[in-house]
Protein backbone atom coordinates (compact mmCIF):
# COMPACT_ATOMS: atom_id res chain seq x y z
CA UNK A 1 0.00 0.00 0.00
CA UNK A 2 1.10 3.55 -0.69
CA UNK A 3 1.21 5.76 2.40
CA UNK A 4 1.13 9.48 2.93
CA UNK A 5 2.66 11.24 5.93
CA UNK A 6 0.92 14.25 7.46
CA UNK A 7 2.97 16.67 9.55
CA UNK A 8 2.19 19.73 11.62
CA UNK A 9 4.84 21.61 13.61
CA UNK A 10 4.77 23.50 16.88
CA UNK A 11 7.78 25.76 17.26
CA UNK A 12 8.85 27.48 20.47
CA UNK A 13 10.55 30.71 19.47
CA UNK A 14 12.48 32.34 22.30
CA UNK A 15 12.14 36.11 22.03
CA UNK A 16 15.33 38.14 22.37
CA UNK A 17 14.19 40.58 25.03
CA UNK A 18 16.67 41.73 27.69
CA UNK A 19 14.20 41.14 30.53
CA UNK A 20 11.67 38.41 31.26
CA UNK A 21 8.09 38.31 30.08
CA UNK A 22 6.56 39.12 33.48
CA UNK A 23 9.42 40.58 35.54
CA UNK A 24 12.48 42.81 35.28
CA UNK A 25 14.92 39.89 35.72
CA UNK A 26 17.61 39.46 33.05
CA UNK A 27 17.28 36.83 30.30
CA UNK A 28 21.02 36.61 29.53
CA UNK A 29 22.12 33.06 28.63
CA UNK A 30 24.69 31.17 30.65
CA UNK A 31 24.52 32.98 34.01
CA UNK A 32 25.25 31.21 37.31
CA UNK A 33 22.22 29.13 38.43
CA UNK A 34 19.33 31.08 39.95
CA UNK A 35 21.06 34.46 39.77
CA UNK A 36 18.37 35.63 37.32
CA UNK A 37 15.40 34.17 39.15
CA UNK A 38 13.39 37.01 40.69
CA UNK A 39 10.60 36.69 43.22
CA UNK A 40 8.13 36.45 40.32
CA UNK A 41 9.84 33.40 38.82
CA UNK A 42 10.17 31.88 42.30
CA UNK A 43 6.41 32.39 42.73
CA UNK A 44 6.69 33.85 46.19
CA UNK A 45 3.31 34.78 47.68
CA UNK A 46 2.00 38.22 46.78
CA UNK A 47 3.99 38.80 43.59
CA UNK A 48 2.19 39.81 40.43
CA UNK A 49 3.20 39.45 36.77
CA UNK A 50 3.63 42.64 34.70
CA UNK A 51 3.79 42.07 30.94
CA UNK A 52 6.83 43.17 28.93
CA UNK A 53 5.82 45.51 26.08
CA UNK A 54 8.60 44.22 23.80
CA UNK A 55 7.06 40.73 23.90
CA UNK A 56 3.77 42.07 22.54
CA UNK A 57 5.46 44.07 19.82
CA UNK A 58 7.69 41.20 18.70
CA UNK A 59 4.60 38.99 18.49
CA UNK A 60 2.88 41.65 16.35
CA UNK A 61 5.95 41.73 14.09
CA UNK A 62 5.74 38.01 13.47
CA UNK A 63 1.97 38.20 12.97
CA UNK A 64 2.33 40.89 10.31
CA UNK A 65 5.14 38.98 8.59
CA UNK A 66 2.94 35.85 8.47
CA UNK A 67 0.12 37.89 6.97
CA UNK A 68 -1.95 36.87 9.98
CA UNK A 69 -4.77 38.33 12.04
CA UNK A 70 -3.54 40.29 15.07
CA UNK A 71 -6.13 39.81 17.81
CA UNK A 72 -6.41 43.32 19.19
CA UNK A 73 -7.84 41.82 22.33
CA UNK A 74 -6.04 38.73 23.56
CA UNK A 75 -6.03 36.92 26.87
CA UNK A 76 -3.52 35.10 29.08
CA UNK A 77 -4.56 31.79 30.61
CA UNK A 78 -3.13 29.48 33.22
CA UNK A 79 -1.97 26.07 32.05
CA UNK A 80 -1.92 23.98 35.19
CA UNK A 81 0.60 21.23 35.83
CA UNK A 82 3.01 20.30 38.57
CA UNK A 83 6.70 20.10 37.95
CA UNK A 84 9.47 21.55 40.13
CA UNK A 85 10.92 23.75 37.38
CA UNK A 86 7.60 25.63 37.41
CA UNK A 87 7.14 26.83 40.98
CA UNK A 88 3.74 28.51 40.45
CA UNK A 89 2.12 25.20 39.53
CA UNK A 90 0.95 26.74 36.25
CA UNK A 91 2.49 28.22 33.14
CA UNK A 92 1.11 31.56 31.97
CA UNK A 93 0.17 31.01 28.32
CA UNK A 94 -2.65 31.86 25.93
CA UNK A 95 -5.47 29.50 25.04
CA UNK A 96 -8.72 30.76 23.55
CA UNK A 97 -7.58 34.19 22.44
CA UNK A 98 -3.96 34.12 21.27
CA UNK A 99 -2.29 37.27 19.94
CA UNK A 100 -1.80 35.91 16.40
CA UNK A 101 -4.07 33.67 14.31
CA UNK A 102 -4.62 32.57 10.69
CA UNK A 103 -1.23 33.26 9.13
CA UNK A 104 0.68 31.59 6.35
CA UNK A 105 4.29 30.95 5.39
CA UNK A 106 5.51 30.04 1.91
CA UNK A 107 8.17 27.38 1.52
CA UNK A 108 10.23 26.22 -1.45
CA UNK A 109 10.77 22.46 -1.86
CA UNK A 110 12.78 21.74 -5.00
CA UNK A 111 11.26 24.13 -7.51
CA UNK A 112 7.83 24.00 -5.99
CA UNK A 113 6.42 26.75 -3.81
CA UNK A 114 3.88 25.75 -1.20
CA UNK A 115 1.92 27.77 1.32
CA UNK A 116 1.78 26.38 4.87
CA UNK A 117 -1.02 27.72 7.08
CA UNK A 118 -0.06 28.95 10.52
CA UNK A 119 -2.92 28.29 12.91
CA UNK A 120 -1.78 30.56 15.70
CA UNK A 121 1.12 32.07 17.63
CA UNK A 122 0.73 32.77 21.32
CA UNK A 123 2.83 34.37 24.06
CA UNK A 124 3.93 32.31 27.04
CA UNK A 125 6.66 31.94 29.63
CA UNK A 126 9.40 29.30 29.54
CA UNK A 127 9.95 26.96 32.50
CA UNK A 128 13.21 26.52 34.44
CA UNK A 129 15.65 23.65 34.04
CA UNK A 130 15.80 20.41 35.99
CA UNK A 131 19.24 18.88 36.34
CA UNK A 132 19.06 15.16 36.90
CA UNK A 133 22.72 14.59 37.65
CA UNK A 134 23.33 13.05 40.98
CA UNK A 135 22.73 15.44 43.82
CA UNK A 136 22.51 12.70 46.52
CA UNK A 137 19.51 11.25 44.70
CA UNK A 138 17.85 14.62 44.37
CA UNK A 139 17.12 16.87 41.39
CA UNK A 140 18.71 20.32 40.99
CA UNK A 141 16.54 23.23 39.86
CA UNK A 142 17.80 26.30 38.01
CA UNK A 143 15.12 28.94 37.47
CA UNK A 144 17.16 31.35 35.32
CA UNK A 145 15.27 30.30 32.21
CA UNK A 146 11.88 30.46 33.96
CA UNK A 147 9.91 33.42 32.65
CA UNK A 148 11.89 33.79 29.43
CA UNK A 149 9.41 34.94 26.77
CA UNK A 150 8.36 32.44 24.11
CA UNK A 151 6.13 32.56 21.08
CA UNK A 152 4.63 29.18 20.35
CA UNK A 153 3.96 29.06 16.62
CA UNK A 154 1.56 26.30 15.58
CA UNK A 155 1.10 25.20 11.96
CA UNK A 156 -1.79 23.36 10.35
CA UNK A 157 -1.04 19.74 9.38
CA UNK A 158 -0.12 20.94 5.88
CA UNK A 159 3.22 19.22 5.33
CA UNK A 160 3.50 15.94 3.46
CA UNK A 161 7.17 14.99 3.82
CA UNK A 162 10.12 15.42 6.16
CA UNK A 163 11.65 17.71 3.51
CA UNK A 164 8.62 20.01 3.61
CA UNK A 165 8.70 20.08 7.40
CA UNK A 166 12.37 21.02 7.37
CA UNK A 167 11.73 23.68 4.70
CA UNK A 168 8.97 25.17 6.85
CA UNK A 169 11.09 25.11 10.01
CA UNK A 170 13.97 26.73 8.13
CA UNK A 171 11.71 29.39 6.61
CA UNK A 172 10.31 30.22 10.05
CA UNK A 173 13.83 30.28 11.50
CA UNK A 174 14.95 32.68 8.76
CA UNK A 175 11.89 34.85 9.36
CA UNK A 176 12.24 35.23 13.15
CA UNK A 177 15.94 36.03 12.92
CA UNK A 178 15.28 38.33 9.95
CA UNK A 179 12.67 40.20 11.97
CA UNK A 180 15.15 40.49 14.83
CA UNK A 181 12.80 38.90 17.37
CA UNK A 182 14.86 35.75 18.10
CA UNK A 183 18.60 35.04 18.05
CA UNK A 184 17.90 31.70 16.32
CA UNK A 185 20.50 29.82 18.36
CA UNK A 186 19.20 26.27 18.28
CA UNK A 187 21.93 24.80 20.47
CA UNK A 188 20.97 27.17 23.26
CA UNK A 189 17.31 26.26 22.77
CA UNK A 190 16.17 29.53 21.22
CA UNK A 191 14.23 27.65 18.52
CA UNK A 192 12.71 24.29 19.51
CA UNK A 193 10.50 22.17 17.31
CA UNK A 194 7.78 19.61 18.15
CA UNK A 195 6.49 17.54 15.23
CA UNK A 196 3.01 16.00 15.04
CA UNK A 197 3.29 13.04 12.69
CA UNK A 198 0.63 10.67 11.35
CA UNK A 199 0.29 8.43 8.31
CA UNK A 200 -2.71 7.47 6.16
CA UNK A 201 -3.26 5.39 3.03
CA UNK A 202 -2.63 7.59 0.02
CA UNK A 203 -5.87 9.21 -1.10
CA UNK A 204 -7.68 8.81 2.22
CA UNK A 205 -9.31 12.04 3.45
CA UNK A 206 -9.28 11.41 7.21
CA UNK A 207 -6.07 11.83 9.17
CA UNK A 208 -4.45 8.91 10.93
CA UNK A 209 -3.70 8.89 14.66
CA UNK A 210 -0.81 11.20 15.41
CA UNK A 211 2.18 10.94 17.69
CA UNK A 212 4.01 14.05 18.83
CA UNK A 213 7.82 14.07 18.73
CA UNK A 214 9.06 16.57 21.32
CA UNK A 215 11.93 19.02 21.52
CA UNK A 216 13.91 18.69 18.32
CA UNK A 217 16.71 21.21 18.43
CA UNK A 218 18.27 20.85 14.99
CA UNK A 219 16.94 20.60 11.43
CA UNK A 220 18.84 17.34 10.99
CA UNK A 221 17.17 15.77 14.02
CA UNK A 222 13.81 17.04 12.78
CA UNK A 223 14.30 15.28 9.48
CA UNK A 224 15.64 12.07 11.05
CA UNK A 225 12.90 11.95 13.66
CA UNK A 226 10.09 12.40 11.11
CA UNK A 227 11.55 9.78 8.77
CA UNK A 228 11.99 7.27 11.58
CA UNK A 229 8.54 7.97 13.02
CA UNK A 230 6.87 7.69 9.59
CA UNK A 231 8.52 4.35 8.93
CA UNK A 232 7.66 3.09 12.42
CA UNK A 233 3.98 4.01 12.04
CA UNK A 234 3.70 2.42 8.58
CA UNK A 235 5.35 -0.80 9.81
CA UNK A 236 3.17 -0.87 12.91
CA UNK A 237 -0.01 -0.66 10.80
CA UNK A 238 1.21 -3.08 8.12
CA UNK A 239 2.06 -5.57 10.87
CA UNK A 240 -1.58 -5.42 11.93
CA UNK A 241 -1.03 -3.04 14.86
CA UNK A 242 -2.60 0.29 15.61
CA UNK A 243 -0.92 3.63 16.26
CA UNK A 244 -1.93 4.98 19.67
CA UNK A 245 -1.87 8.68 20.34
CA UNK A 246 1.29 9.44 22.32
CA UNK A 247 4.10 11.84 23.04
CA UNK A 248 7.54 10.52 22.08
CA UNK A 249 11.15 11.62 22.41
CA UNK A 250 13.79 11.42 19.68
CA UNK A 251 17.13 9.91 20.68
CA UNK A 252 19.85 11.40 18.44
CA UNK A 253 22.28 8.61 19.34
CA UNK A 254 20.09 5.73 18.19
CA UNK A 255 18.12 7.76 15.62
CA UNK A 256 14.92 6.31 17.08
CA UNK A 257 11.87 7.69 18.83
CA UNK A 258 10.60 6.28 22.09
CA UNK A 259 7.43 6.68 24.08
CA UNK A 260 7.35 9.39 26.73
CA UNK A 261 3.67 9.20 27.67
CA UNK A 262 0.54 7.66 26.22
CA UNK A 263 -2.82 9.35 25.75
CA UNK A 264 -4.10 7.91 29.03
CA UNK A 265 -1.40 9.80 30.92
CA UNK A 266 -1.93 12.97 28.88
CA UNK A 267 -2.00 16.06 31.00
CA UNK A 268 -5.31 17.73 31.66
CA UNK A 269 -4.12 21.29 31.91
CA UNK A 270 -7.39 22.79 33.20
CA UNK A 271 -6.85 26.09 31.40
CA UNK A 272 -8.63 29.18 32.67
CA UNK A 273 -8.10 32.94 32.17
CA UNK A 274 -5.38 34.23 34.49
CA UNK A 275 -7.03 36.56 37.00
CA UNK A 276 -3.65 38.27 37.63
CA UNK A 277 -3.54 39.60 34.09
CA UNK A 278 -6.09 41.80 32.34
CA UNK A 279 -6.84 41.35 28.64
CA UNK A 280 -4.12 42.73 26.36
CA UNK A 281 -5.48 45.39 24.03
CA UNK A 282 -3.59 46.48 20.94
CA UNK A 283 -4.46 49.73 19.21
CA UNK A 284 -4.46 50.37 15.46
CA UNK A 285 -1.72 52.94 16.05
CA UNK A 286 0.50 50.39 17.78
CA UNK A 287 0.12 47.94 14.87
CA UNK A 288 0.81 50.73 12.36
CA UNK A 289 3.92 51.75 14.27
CA UNK A 290 5.27 48.19 14.48
CA UNK A 291 4.56 47.76 10.77
CA UNK A 292 6.48 50.95 9.94
CA UNK A 293 9.51 49.67 11.88
CA UNK A 294 9.66 46.31 10.06
CA UNK A 295 12.43 45.49 7.59
CA UNK A 296 11.62 44.41 4.04
CA UNK A 297 10.60 40.74 4.30
CA UNK A 298 12.47 37.84 2.69
CA UNK A 299 9.62 37.04 0.30
CA UNK A 300 9.44 40.63 -0.99
CA UNK A 301 13.19 40.88 -1.25
CA UNK A 302 13.31 37.60 -3.16
CA UNK A 303 10.86 38.88 -5.76
CA UNK A 304 12.79 42.13 -6.05
CA UNK A 305 16.11 40.33 -6.57
CA UNK A 306 14.63 38.38 -9.48
CA UNK A 307 13.24 41.57 -11.05
CA UNK A 308 16.08 43.98 -10.37
CA UNK A 309 19.15 41.77 -10.70
CA UNK A 310 17.96 39.03 -13.04
CA UNK A 311 18.89 36.16 -10.68
CA UNK A 312 16.93 32.89 -10.77
CA UNK A 313 14.14 32.32 -8.21
CA UNK A 314 16.29 29.54 -6.72
CA UNK A 315 19.30 31.84 -6.30
CA UNK A 316 17.04 34.55 -4.89
CA UNK A 317 15.73 32.07 -2.30
CA UNK A 318 19.27 31.11 -1.28
CA UNK A 319 20.36 34.76 -1.12
CA UNK A 320 17.44 35.65 1.16
CA UNK A 321 18.29 32.76 3.49
CA UNK A 322 19.47 35.32 5.99
CA UNK A 323 19.20 39.06 6.27
CA UNK A 324 22.99 39.44 6.47
CA UNK A 325 23.48 37.55 3.20
CA UNK A 326 20.66 39.40 1.43
CA UNK A 327 21.97 42.80 2.51
CA UNK A 328 25.48 41.88 1.42
CA UNK A 329 24.32 40.58 -1.94
CA UNK A 330 22.30 43.68 -2.63
CA UNK A 331 25.24 45.95 -1.82
CA UNK A 332 27.58 43.97 -4.11
CA UNK A 333 25.06 43.65 -6.95
CA UNK A 334 24.21 47.36 -6.82
CA UNK A 335 27.81 48.57 -6.63
CA UNK A 336 29.11 46.26 -9.36
CA UNK A 337 26.03 46.24 -11.58
CA UNK A 338 26.62 42.47 -11.82
CA UNK A 339 23.65 40.73 -10.17
CA UNK A 340 24.07 37.28 -11.67
CA UNK A 341 27.83 37.27 -11.22
CA UNK A 342 27.39 38.35 -7.60
CA UNK A 343 24.87 35.53 -7.03
CA UNK A 344 27.25 33.00 -8.60
CA UNK A 345 30.18 34.14 -6.48
CA UNK A 346 28.22 34.23 -3.25
CA UNK A 347 26.78 30.78 -3.93
CA UNK A 348 30.13 29.43 -5.17
CA UNK A 349 33.58 30.58 -4.11
CA UNK A 350 32.47 32.78 -1.22
CA UNK A 351 30.21 30.10 0.26
CA UNK A 352 32.87 27.43 -0.23
CA UNK A 353 35.56 29.41 1.55
CA UNK A 354 33.21 30.39 4.38
CA UNK A 355 32.25 26.75 4.74
CA UNK A 356 35.84 25.60 4.79
CA UNK A 357 36.69 28.06 7.54
CA UNK A 358 33.47 27.39 9.46
CA UNK A 359 32.50 31.03 9.20
CA UNK A 360 29.23 32.86 8.85
CA UNK A 361 28.49 35.51 6.19
CA UNK A 362 28.67 38.11 8.97
CA UNK A 363 32.33 37.15 9.49
CA UNK A 364 33.28 37.50 5.82
CA UNK A 365 36.58 39.41 5.75
CA UNK A 366 35.86 40.98 2.35
CA UNK A 367 33.35 43.83 2.48
CA UNK A 368 30.78 44.44 -0.25
CA UNK A 369 32.80 47.25 -1.84
CA UNK A 370 35.91 45.09 -2.29
CA UNK A 371 34.00 42.11 -3.65
CA UNK A 372 32.19 44.32 -6.14
CA UNK A 373 35.60 45.68 -7.23
CA UNK A 374 36.61 42.10 -8.08
CA UNK A 375 33.40 41.42 -10.01
CA UNK A 376 33.86 44.58 -12.06
CA UNK A 377 37.28 43.30 -13.16
CA UNK A 378 35.79 39.94 -14.16
CA UNK A 379 32.99 41.62 -16.10
CA UNK A 380 35.32 43.96 -18.01
CA UNK A 381 37.60 41.10 -19.04
CA UNK A 382 40.60 42.11 -16.93
CA UNK A 383 40.41 38.81 -15.01
CA UNK A 384 39.65 35.32 -16.21
CA UNK A 385 37.72 33.13 -13.76
CA UNK A 386 40.91 31.40 -12.81
CA UNK A 387 42.78 34.63 -12.13
CA UNK A 388 39.74 35.96 -10.27
CA UNK A 389 39.91 33.04 -7.86
CA UNK A 390 43.56 33.82 -7.24
CA UNK A 391 42.76 37.50 -6.61
CA UNK A 392 39.85 36.49 -4.37
CA UNK A 393 42.10 34.36 -2.16
CA UNK A 394 44.63 37.19 -1.92
CA UNK A 395 41.82 39.60 -0.98
CA UNK A 396 40.61 37.23 1.72
CA UNK A 397 44.01 37.16 3.37
CA UNK A 398 44.68 40.91 3.08
CA UNK A 399 42.72 44.12 3.32
CA UNK A 400 43.65 45.04 -0.25
CA UNK A 401 41.36 45.84 -3.16
CA UNK A 402 41.21 43.71 -6.30
CA UNK A 403 42.86 46.44 -8.36
CA UNK A 404 45.80 46.74 -5.99
CA UNK A 405 46.37 42.97 -6.04
CA UNK A 406 46.06 42.75 -9.83
CA UNK A 407 48.66 45.51 -10.18
CA UNK A 408 50.97 44.13 -7.48
CA UNK A 409 50.98 40.53 -8.74
CA UNK A 410 50.71 41.35 -12.43
CA UNK A 411 47.55 39.25 -12.77
CA UNK A 412 45.96 41.16 -15.57
CA UNK A 413 44.41 38.90 -18.16
CA UNK A 414 46.10 39.16 -21.56
CA UNK A 415 43.48 39.96 -24.18
CA UNK A 416 45.83 41.51 -26.67
CA UNK A 417 45.32 39.52 -29.89
CA UNK A 418 48.86 40.06 -31.07
CA UNK A 419 50.39 38.76 -27.84
CA UNK A 420 48.15 35.70 -27.76
CA UNK A 421 48.80 34.93 -31.41
CA UNK A 422 52.49 34.96 -30.71
CA UNK A 423 52.15 32.50 -27.84
CA UNK A 424 49.85 30.26 -29.90
CA UNK A 425 52.33 30.12 -32.75
CA UNK A 426 55.14 29.18 -30.37
CA UNK A 427 53.06 26.41 -28.82
CA UNK A 428 52.02 25.04 -32.21
CA UNK A 429 55.64 24.99 -33.35
CA UNK A 430 56.74 23.18 -30.22
CA UNK A 431 53.95 20.54 -30.33
CA UNK A 432 53.77 19.16 -33.86
CA UNK A 433 52.40 15.83 -32.62
CA UNK A 434 49.35 17.37 -30.97
CA UNK A 435 48.75 19.49 -34.07
CA UNK A 436 48.80 16.38 -36.20
CA UNK A 437 46.42 14.56 -33.90
CA UNK A 438 43.95 17.43 -33.99
CA UNK A 439 44.07 17.59 -37.76
CA UNK A 440 43.42 13.84 -37.78
CA UNK A 441 40.17 14.56 -35.97
CA UNK A 442 41.12 14.18 -32.34
CA UNK A 443 39.24 17.07 -30.72
CA UNK A 444 40.86 16.50 -27.35
CA UNK A 445 44.22 17.60 -28.71
CA UNK A 446 42.86 21.14 -28.91
CA UNK A 447 42.42 21.27 -25.12
CA UNK A 448 45.96 20.07 -24.61
CA UNK A 449 47.24 22.84 -26.86
CA UNK A 450 45.05 25.45 -25.16
CA UNK A 451 46.46 24.25 -21.85
CA UNK A 452 49.98 24.77 -23.13
CA UNK A 453 49.15 28.32 -24.22
CA UNK A 454 47.60 29.09 -20.83
CA UNK A 455 50.68 27.71 -19.17
CA UNK A 456 52.96 29.81 -21.38
CA UNK A 457 50.95 32.89 -20.38
CA UNK A 458 51.16 31.93 -16.69
CA UNK A 459 47.38 31.59 -16.68
CA UNK A 460 46.85 35.14 -17.79
CA UNK A 461 45.71 34.69 -21.39
CA UNK A 462 42.01 35.17 -22.04
CA UNK A 463 40.86 31.52 -22.40
CA UNK A 464 38.08 32.25 -24.86
CA UNK A 465 40.47 34.13 -27.11
CA UNK A 466 43.04 31.36 -26.88
CA UNK A 467 40.49 28.82 -28.10
CA UNK A 468 39.38 31.09 -30.88
CA UNK A 469 42.87 31.89 -32.14
CA UNK A 470 43.95 28.24 -31.88
CA UNK A 471 41.04 27.18 -34.06
CA UNK A 472 41.87 29.89 -36.60
CA UNK A 473 45.49 28.84 -36.82
CA UNK A 474 44.66 25.16 -37.11
CA UNK A 475 41.91 25.60 -39.68
Amino acid sequence: MKWEVVIGLEVHVQLNTVSKIFSGASTAFGAEPNTQASLVELALPGVLPVLNKAVVEKAIRLGLALDATINQKNVFARKNYFYPDLPKGYQISQMELPIVEHGKLNILVGDEEKSIRVTRAHMEEDAGKSLHEDFHGMTGIDLNRAGTPLLEVVSEPDMRSAEEAVAYAKALHTLVTWLGICDGNMQEGSFRVDANVSVRPFGQAEFGTRREVKNLNSFRFLEQAIKYETQWQIETIEDGGKVQQATVLFDPDSGETRMMRSKEDAHDYRYFPDPDLLPVRISDEQIARVRSEMPELPAQMKARFVDAFGVTPYDAAVLTGSRALATYFEAVATASGQGKLAANWLGGDVAARLNREGKDIAELPIDAERLSGLLVRIADGTLSNKLAKQVFDAMWDSGLSADVIIERDGLKQVSDVGAIEKMVEEVLAANPKAVEEFRAGKEKALNALAGQVMKASKGKANPAQVQEILKQKLA
Binding site: L42, N80, S130, D142, R270
Partner: protein
Amino acid sequence: MSLSHQDVARIARLSRIAVTDAEIDAVNRQLNSILGLIEQMQAVNTDGIEPMAHPQDVSLRLREDVVTEPNRREACQAVAPQVEKGLFLVPKVIE
Protein backbone atom coordinates in the same frame (compact mmCIF):
# COMPACT_ATOMS: atom_id res chain seq x y z
CA MET B 1 -23.70 17.12 34.53
CA SER B 2 -22.59 15.31 37.63
CA LEU B 3 -19.23 13.90 38.65
CA SER B 4 -18.46 10.29 39.47
CA HIS B 5 -16.14 9.08 42.23
CA GLN B 6 -13.54 8.44 39.55
CA ASP B 7 -13.77 12.02 38.26
CA VAL B 8 -13.26 13.37 41.77
CA ALA B 9 -10.25 11.13 42.36
CA ARG B 10 -8.74 12.23 39.03
CA ILE B 11 -9.28 15.95 39.69
CA ALA B 12 -7.78 15.56 43.15
CA ARG B 13 -4.75 13.81 41.69
CA LEU B 14 -4.24 16.48 39.02
CA SER B 15 -4.54 19.24 41.64
CA ARG B 16 -2.23 17.40 44.04
CA ILE B 17 -4.89 17.57 46.78
CA ALA B 18 -5.02 14.58 49.09
CA VAL B 19 -8.59 13.32 49.26
CA THR B 20 -9.05 10.06 51.15
CA ASP B 21 -11.64 7.46 50.17
CA ALA B 22 -13.63 8.43 53.22
CA GLU B 23 -13.79 12.04 52.07
CA ILE B 24 -14.64 11.40 48.44
CA ASP B 25 -18.40 11.15 48.99
CA ALA B 26 -18.56 14.48 50.77
CA VAL B 27 -16.30 16.22 48.23
CA ASN B 28 -18.33 14.74 45.40
CA ARG B 29 -21.60 16.07 46.89
CA GLN B 30 -20.10 19.54 47.31
CA LEU B 31 -18.65 19.67 43.80
CA ASN B 32 -21.92 18.46 42.32
CA SER B 33 -23.85 21.12 44.13
CA ILE B 34 -21.46 23.76 42.72
CA LEU B 35 -21.94 22.28 39.25
CA GLY B 36 -25.68 22.44 39.83
CA LEU B 37 -25.42 26.16 40.46
CA ILE B 38 -23.35 26.60 37.27
CA GLU B 39 -25.97 24.65 35.34
CA GLN B 40 -28.60 27.06 36.61
CA MET B 41 -26.51 30.02 35.42
CA GLN B 42 -25.98 28.37 32.06
CA ALA B 43 -29.72 28.47 31.46
CA VAL B 44 -29.48 32.27 31.07
CA ASN B 45 -29.53 33.40 27.46
CA THR B 46 -26.16 35.03 26.68
CA ASP B 47 -26.53 35.32 22.90
CA GLY B 48 -24.54 38.25 21.55
CA ILE B 49 -22.73 38.90 24.82
CA GLU B 50 -18.95 38.87 24.56
CA PRO B 51 -17.37 36.60 27.19
CA MET B 52 -15.28 38.49 29.74
CA ALA B 53 -11.83 37.25 30.65
CA HIS B 54 -11.74 39.49 33.71
CA PRO B 55 -14.46 41.03 35.88
CA GLN B 56 -13.14 44.55 35.28
CA ASP B 57 -13.36 46.01 31.81
CA VAL B 58 -9.89 47.54 31.77
CA SER B 59 -6.75 46.70 29.77
CA LEU B 60 -3.39 45.46 30.83
CA ARG B 61 -0.61 47.95 31.45
CA LEU B 62 2.74 47.01 30.00
CA ARG B 63 6.28 47.57 31.27
CA GLU B 64 9.30 48.63 29.23
CA ASP B 65 11.84 45.92 28.41
CA VAL B 66 14.55 46.82 30.94
CA VAL B 67 16.33 44.79 33.60
CA THR B 68 15.34 46.06 37.05
CA GLU B 69 15.79 42.98 39.24
CA PRO B 70 19.16 42.47 40.93
CA ASN B 71 20.56 39.05 41.80
CA ARG B 72 19.00 38.04 45.14
CA ARG B 73 19.95 34.40 45.09
CA GLU B 74 21.51 34.39 48.52
CA ALA B 75 18.45 35.85 50.21
CA CYS B 76 16.07 33.63 48.26
CA GLN B 77 18.01 30.46 48.96
CA ALA B 78 18.38 31.26 52.67
CA VAL B 79 14.81 29.96 53.15
CA ALA B 80 15.13 26.95 50.84
CA PRO B 81 15.23 23.52 52.52
CA GLN B 82 18.20 22.33 50.48
CA VAL B 83 20.62 24.05 48.12
CA GLU B 84 23.77 23.02 46.30
CA LYS B 85 26.00 24.80 43.75
CA GLY B 86 23.38 27.53 43.47
CA LEU B 87 20.63 25.01 42.64
CA PHE B 88 17.48 24.35 44.60
CA LEU B 89 17.35 20.65 45.45
CA VAL B 90 14.04 18.81 45.26
CA PRO B 91 13.04 15.14 45.55
CA LYS B 92 14.12 13.30 42.40
CA VAL B 93 11.84 13.79 39.43
CA ILE B 94 12.21 11.87 36.20
CA GLU B 95 9.40 11.93 33.73
